[in-house]
């Protein structure tokens, strides 16, 4: 007893481009908002202490943010597919320590080789996560919570209480960690290139768009012939490789390594992505947003030190930011829904 099929509905007018643009602007607002917060924070801190903007201080800030940005880029690949990797902190620790061991054993190893070995080791860890998630169909949260402990455990048993000191590391490798091109740290350039390349890939390549499709509606993705398992697996491998890269960069930046390197980093990374507008339920968000989120979290850390505010507040501020970001996200989605739906009703 459904309504008769013939109740002619007035023709739906062609939707106005203006309103669609509006909707898209609203979506972009997530990233613009976070950039705005970053600018305000830098401004306030610099007003209090002008040295915050000195070249050396900016250099340090960028260098410190490199690890987080690299990891946030990788994590974004996963979160848009409605997955997550909690083991990245452990991968960073394992690879960083492994890099130290490698360089102690063979001090002549070229930086490029060290980088490749680290990336490969990280990718292998990512492949473990990815195959458990994609083939065994265990939720990513559970799998990577497990491998968080497994990888960290491997790290501990390998290090067995040993610490590698910067003084023992080859000079060439440590120089790579602090080198600059035209005043910009090489490490920061690497992170920038990563953001640009992965951002371009996610926006402009079929397989990149498929990652969003998978996160937006996994069942629909399967029905439209997207190889969901393969894509998710590849995202885990790529994220692992980036975590491995971050591990080598960590070793180059700090030189002093033990088994606790990178502990707890995973939560900061996820926080950075979420604050940067990557929807935790998948389907939307960009690596630019995530990278800016990482930069923001790092800047908060630095500016609280400069402003001589108790470190306790740093955690509280990060927490408040996450809640604000998620709240804003829900608000924007609800707004967008209303706007898009409202249009259909008005036109109908």
């Amino acid at each position: 007893m459904s309504a008769p099929a013939t109740d002619a509905r007035p023709e739906i007018a062609p939707p106005s481009r203006e309103q669609a643009r509006m909707a898209i602007r609203l979506l972009r607002a997530r990233e613009i908002g976070i950039v705005f917060v970053l600018v305000v924070l830098v401004g306030v801190t610099a007003l209090n202490n002008p040295r915050f903007l000195s070249p050396q201080s900016v250099r340090d800030l960028l260098l410190n943010a490199v690890i987080l940005v690299t990891l946030a880029v990788g994590q974004t690949l996963l979160i848009v597919t409605r997955n997550v990797d909690l083991s990245v902190g452990s991968i960073v620790g394992l690879v960083a320590f492994g890099t130290g061991k490698l360089l102690l054993a063979a001090p002549g190893t070229p930086v490029v080789v060290a980088l490749l070995v680290g990336v490969a080791a990280g990718a292998a860890c990512g492949a473990v996560n990815g195959s458990l998630v994609a083939a065994a169909r265990v939720p990513a949260l559970v799998v990577t919570l497990g491998t968080l402990y497994v990888f960290r455990g491997l790290d501990y048993s390998w290090a067995s209480g040993q610490q590698i000191n910067a003084a023992d590391m080859p000079r060439a490798f440590l120089r790579f960690g602090t080198a600059s091109v035209l005043g910009v740290p090489v490490l920061a350039l690497i992170a920038l290139v990563l953001v640009l390349v992965v951002g371009f890939y996610l926006r402009s390549y079929r397989s990149g768009r498929e990652l969003y499709a998978i996160g937006s509606d996994p069942d629909a993705a399967r029905l439209s012939g997207i190889p969901v398992g393969r894509r998710v697996f590849a995202a885990f491998v790529a994220n692992g490789a980036l975590a491995g890269l971050a591990g080598v960069l960590y070793a180059a930046r700090f030189g002093t390594l033990d088994a606790t390197v990178g502990a707890g980093l995973e939560l900061t990374v996820i926080a950075a992505a979420v604050v940067g507008g990557v929807a935790i339920f998948g389907g939307s968000g960009t690596v630019f947003g995530a990278a800016v989120g990482a930069l923001l979290l790092q800047t908060i850390t630095s500016s609280l030190v400069v402003l001589r505010i108790n470190a306790f507040w740093q955690q509280a501020v990060v927490g408040a930011l996450i809640l604000a970001a998620i709240g804003l996200d829900r608000l924007l989605v609800a707004r967008l829904d209303r706007r898009l739906r409202g249009r259909t009703i008005r036109d109908a």
């Binding site: 007893m1 481009r17 909707a23 969003y212 029905l223 012939g225």
Partner: protein, 505 residues
């Protein structure tokens, strides 16, 4: 039974296809031959296996035995990608869009036009989408996200997607349910133009006028089995209905006479702002009262308020003369009310729990001692109930999600009837249930009424309303507009009441 058409090989063919889900045999020896340049209808009752056929053709499911032939060659459909590669496009009953992605991306996902470096050429993609919508005569901004599109617009996106394939085989699984007349005409124009271009079209619909309007040939399925294939010109609606139902339609509604007794449920002046207003009726013991009306008339909302799931602003509900406190389902249950909700998957069952647990969920206190469940008592009670209701379950410990829709509904009924209610409220008791089980459920309701239970049944299926009810209450836009006794209830009188205030539209 397969009828060769002037010696040509069918473009796409299903041969002797069978498929089971657990103990439920969804398809048994199904035959279907689609020819180039023809629109072929597939009809059957809910649960006859039409959607399973679609899923096999789309690669979402694999047949247990039998197979698919394309151009006379066996075709391996091991996934949706394989079906696409073979030129099979599907428009599903429920649109399957990505809400976060743009309309254009939804249409071209995985097939986006490429520019240099294999990157996506957004401009070309948008131009192609605009062309597609121009062909459909229905413009949607390609750049807007799919989130928030009306169901009809979503369906148009699906149609544009199918069109963009240049599909050799187009499968439409009840695509017209959400479309208005103009949109249906456009869809049919598209289907005809594809047919004229040499594609084979499979059209699934409950609307016979559409079948006769659009199709050349029609195949009937019943209870997962192939019944017949005919030229549309050689059959009429009565033939098709008889084959779909496979039995005398009246036996589907085994309403026995029962003596109606005292008033058990009395509802007076029930009002919820903006949803329903001043609803009043009585249900006597031994009586089946149907609550009919168009979708959205407020029927489910009324019964939810009566049971106390939703609050109401004014009015009273009495059971056996005792007034029920509003918004207290617990009190309603204690007074002898039971509600079998419309959406059994979300509201009626705990899908991951076992059949036994679900059956005894409402009696967990009676079956426990010192707060601990007595497991053997639970199993005994569950066994008794499932046997009484003829639930087809492999094992009582299997999760209830493995049962077919009809058997799930029986579990829900068993669960509520085990509380020995005085009034049973059922919301759409047979939605999405196969014909055989439907008759079981109807028999059950009829028996219960004969035993003196008062039954209030919300139903959108007119034959069910007319076949089962002693009295028909009709709602329109939140108000009760008619109370028709069975002997005066007819399709016309109920429909007229349900739409009366729209007369002239």
């Amino acid at each position: 039974m397969r009828e060769p058409v002037s010696g040509t090989t069918p473009l796409l063919e299903l041969r002797d296809v069978s498929k089971s889900f657990g103990a439920v045999r969804a398809l048994r020896g199904v035959e279907l031959a689609l020819h180039a340049g023809e629109v072929h209808a597939l009809v059957g009752e809910n649960g006859a296996g039409k959607s399973t056929v679609v899923k096999i053709l789309s690669g979402a499911l694999r047949a247990d035995s039998g197979g698919v032939w394309l151009d006379g060659e066996p075709l391996v459909l091991d996934g949706p990608a394989a079906a696409r590669a073979a030129g099979i496009a599907v428009i599903y009953q429920e649109p399957t869009l990505f809400p976060d992605l743009s309309v254009a991306e939804n249409i071209f996902m995985g097939r986006q036009p490429l520019a240099g470096l294999r990157r996506i050429d957004t401009d070309a993609m948008h131009a192609q989408v605009n062309d597609l919508f121009a062909r459909l005569g229905h413009r949607i901004d390609p750049d807007r996200p799919a989130r928030g599109l009306s169901i009809a617009d979503q369906q148009m996106v699906e149609i544009a997607k199918a069109l963009s394939f240049d599909a050799r085989v187009l499968i439409m699984d009840e695509p017209t349910a959400a479309l208005s007349g103009v949109e249906v005409d456009r869809l049919f124009a598209v289907a005809r133009s594809l047919r004229n271009a040499g594609a084979a079209v499979l059209f699934i619909s409950h609307r016979f006028d559409e079948v006769f309007d659009l199709c050349e040939r029609v195949t009937v399925l019943r209870d997962g089995q192939y019944v017949s294939t005919d030229r549309v010109a050689d059959v009429n609606v009565d033939d098709l209905v008889r084959r779909m139902v496979g039995r005398d339609v009246s036996s589907l509604y085994p309403k026995g006479d029962s003596d109606t007794g005292d008033v058990v449920l009395r509802v007076e002046g029930l009002t919820r702002q903006g949803v329903f207003a001043d609803v009043g009726f009585v249900v006597r013991s031994g009586e089946i009262v149907a609550l009919a009306g168009l979708v959205g008339a407020g029927r489910s909302e009324v019964v939810r308020a009566v049971f106390g799931v939703d609050r109401y602003d004014a009015g009273t509900v009495h059971v056996d003369g005792t007034r029920l406190p509003p918004a207290r389902p617990r009190a309603a249950m204690d007074a002898g009310l039971a509600l079998v909700p419309e959406d059994r998957r979300q509201q009626g069952l705990v899908m991951a729990m076992s059949v036994a647990r679900n059956t005894t969920l409402t009696r967990r206190w009676a079956l426990s001692r010192f707060g601990l469940m007595n497991r053997s008592a639970e199993r005994r009670a569950a066994k008794e109930a499932t046997e009484r209701f003829k639930v087809k379950a492999g094992d009582l410990d299997d999760p209830v999600s493995t049962l077919s829709g009809g058997n799930q509904q029986k579990v829900v009924l068993a669960k509520w009837l085990s509380t020995r209610p005085r009034v049973l409220i059922v919301d759409e008791p047979t939605r999405g249930i196969d014909v055989g089980t439907k008759a079981d459920v109807h028999q059950l309701l009829s028996d219960l009424a004969a035993d003196g239970l008062a039954v209030l049944m919300v139903s959108s299926e007119l034959p069910e309303v007319l076949g089962m009810a002693d009295r028909v209450l009709v709602m329109h836009e939140g108000r009760l507009v008619a109370d028709i006794p069975a002997d005066r209830a007819s399709e016309e009188s109920v429909m007229f009441a349900a739409t009366a205030q729209e007369a002239g539209s």
